[in-house]
């Protein structure tokens, strides 16, 4: 069980996972609901302050910029140059860069950054297994929890397996580099054995699980609990309330 207890360097890390995920969801959904510049920028500010407190600010900034960069390039190109508008700033060939497009791109960018910083902060400060087991303790079906935890293991396994298959196909003379066409053709001899092999593995794994009472009905009793406090509970409900109020305000057109 020791590996389940996450290292707790800061107070923010020690918060219950549910509190952190509520914060992340309020931040990301809130940024979409409120819109404009002020709301998302406020959320960004809060997340930066919390990340600094948790000591992950540099890593978080790097990760969300990396994640947002391809989208950012697209947003700028798509909206600055092709969004209809009256105030033309400059022209490139047939494309007018409009003030309205710049404004829209700016709003989208702050919104996307607010989303990725909110969720990124949660992911960086929370041990995923602790989050899933905490949810299970709160009543999420054990099978859903199993799926979540097994996926964490399955993704690296699959990538490793793809690497092994790729190498053995190359040893048999498969061309996986070069032109786009060659790479496309090289994809099939890797992807097909990858998926087929995983499918045949299912049988073995489910037998192993069955022999360990996987389908036994009733609740599992977890030896391990995540600390939770009443201030945190109040904070969670307050965040949900803020989100609901923002939604109502948005629908009724007050913001």
């Amino acid at each position: 069980m020791s590996r389940l207890v996450p290292a707790t360097p800061t107070a923010f890390h020690r918060l219950n996972p549910l509190t952190k995920v509520t914060l992340a969801t309020t931040g990301s959904v809130g940024a979409v609901i409120v819109g404009g510049y002020l709301g998302p920028l406020t959320i960004l500010g809060v997340m930066i302050a919390l990340a600094a407190q948790a000591g992950v600010l540099r890593a978080l900034l790097r990760a969300s910029l990396f994640l947002t960069l391809p989208l950012a390039i697209s947003v700028v190109l798509v909206s600055v140059f092709t969004r209809a508008g009256t105030t033309v700033l400059f022209q490139v060939g047939p494309f007018d860069a409009t003030m309205e497009g710049v404004d829209f791109a700016g709003q989208t960018l702050v919104r996307l950054l607010a989303i990725s910083m909110s969720i990124g902060l949660f992911v960086m400060t929370t041990e995923p297994r602790a989050f899933v087991f905490d949810l299970e303790r709160r009543g999420v079906p054990p099978r859903a929890a199993f799926v979540a935890v097994a996926t964490i293991e399955a993704v690296p396994t699959l990538i490793e397996r793809a690497g092994v298959i790729g190498e053995s196909q190359r040893a048999r003379g498969l061309d996986t580099e070069g032109s786009l066409r060659a790479r496309l053709r090289g994809l099939i001899p890797i992807v097909a054995p990858l998926i087929l092999g995983s499918l045949t593995d299912v049988e073995e794994r489910s037998l192993a699980l069955e022999s360990r009472a996987f389908s036994r009905p009733g609740r599992r009793h977890l030896l391990w609990t995540m600390p939770d406090s009443s201030p945190e509970r109040v904070l969670r409900w307050a965040l949900v309330l803020v989100l609901v109020l923002a939604g109502i305000a948005r629908i009724t057109g007050r913001i």
């Binding site: 391809p70 919104r111 097994a150 998926i195 699980l209």
Partner: protein, 283 residues
Amino acid sequence: MSFSWGRFDTRTIVLIPIAIAINIVLGQTVAAALKIPIYLDSIGTILVGVLAGPIPGLVTGLLANLIWTYVLPAPLQSSYAAPFAVVAAEIGFLSGVFAQLGWFRSRPNSSGQQLVIAAVVALVIVGGLAIYTVSRFYTGAFTFFSPEGDQSVAFQLLGWLIAVGIVGVIVGFLALLFLRRDAGVAYVVVAGVIMGVISALISAPIAAVVFGGVTGSGTDLLVAAFQQGGSDLQTAVLQQGLLSDPIDKVVTSFVVFLLLRSVSRRVIARFPQGEAAVGMERP
């Protein structure tokens, strides 16, 4: 055969994480590396829908996108997957229904007559859907070839490229159908197109409101083109989706169809809906 919503037996529960991993690995590597305007991030979801039933498919789609955002560790995690969980759920559900109707069955050695009927029926259904969507969503804004539209060379070229792409897909479909002599291809194409159109209708508002209409992949070029052609953002995203989603879902469904043919029937029959999906119990 009575309709079933599907079952969560141990095999299905074990299959779901693997399917989600397939979605994530292929969705990230293929779409990002090849820069083609399709996503290929629902092979696993469709696989579960086909093998286990509509509800397991739905749950897989939903969980896949939520896990992608909230549970996976950093290099694989993507904060932008969760908003599209509804779309993934819809794909899983529909693939389960279609598989139960037998649309993912292989029909080898079909006679020439059957092939022609299958081709005509599939083209009529797809064509009907296409005419409906074009008349409903592309009127006034679909200005690639109209004299009022943007006449610049880039957009003429893009318009022709899209036209060539569509013709290519139809020719490829007919070639596959007649070369493989497998009427099942026609069913898979119809299933993929229906899933694609519905996915486009659901995902367009999400993409427009949350992401400003972009995904950071090759599809953004189409959004830019439609917006330049005079559509507002919401319409441009929908027009892009109605073009790329059906193609993406047809390709994905076809991959699953080919996989089902290559897996031994012994393996498939162990899943709750496996027998119905590949057609073992002939009436």
